[in-house]
Symmetry: C2
Subunit: 127 residues, 2 copies
DNA sequence: GCATAATACATAGCATTACTATGTATAATG
DNA sequence: CATTATACATAGTAATGCTATGTATTATGC
């Protein structure tokens, strides 16, 4: 599985059609990354990268985390590490878990529909 | 198959998290709708709605078609209908076909990755 | 013939969301 | 102590739809 979506897409116009493809999915992806356990910022980045080859810049992540927290979907706390830097841990609130579920379901339907639309293109190529 | 994504999402903030989910996919979807045959504007809308439950407003469609044409991915021509209104037909240029393929492939990878991230959420719910 | 409705396309202002560049703070290392 | 690494934060900018509205042409009914 290769990393098809990163920040340096190679389209002609704007060079970023791939970036647009993933815009709007990031909140959902970030909520999902926190489903199974609480994580601190850079752990979220690593989880996304490892679990779904989704590379997000730090400057993108933190405003989103901040926004989700302001919305009551996440809670956070500062933890002084026994060794190393203090870290800000995030976890899903009950509202956050509900949102994550809603989004996961919507994503499933949406992606299935869109993939169906892509089939003729991929089918021709495979021939 | 129900229409999970339309313009009146029901989230709390901004009410539009679902709209964001599909932003960025529309160019690809529109290019895909033209893969098998040329269509005029409202036919594109209907094709998207019928093939993938994707509802786009006319005001959204035409700027995108215009943009794709400016970019050399589409070509268009006015056709006087034998009965009814004149219509502007669109079809993919060779560059447009290449773009559609690239996007379809990127989409496949991207959506597979993201769906993997969603599995724990959906798995828990199904239990 | 005229007014209204339907069809088809177009556009401008606005809202939203990342991306990019840059910065602050703290701990670790040489 | 200076530099590097880790961790978090933010402001300006770019891109893309959404919403509201408008223009143009054809069809319909009175």
């Amino acid at each position: 599985m290769y990393n098809a979506i990163n920040s340096n897409g190679n389209g002609e116009r704007g060079q970023h059609w791939e970036a647009q493809l993933r815009k709007g999915c990031l909140e959902m992806a970030i909520l999902a990354s926190l489903w199974q356990s609480r994580l601190y910022g850079l752990e979220v980045l690593r989880a996304l990268s490892e679990k779904s080859q989704l590379e997000i810049a730090e400057g993108t992540l933190y405003p989103i985390l901040s926004r989700l927290k302001a919305e009551g979907l996440l809670q956070s706390e500062w933890v002084e590490a026994e060794a190393g830097h203090p870290r800000k841990y995030y976890w899903l609130t009950p509202a956050g878990r509900r949102r994550a579920r809603e989004m996961a379901e919507a994503w499933t339907a949406f992606s299935t529909n869109l993939s169906a639309l892509m089939q003729p293109i991929l089918g021709v190529k495979q021939r």
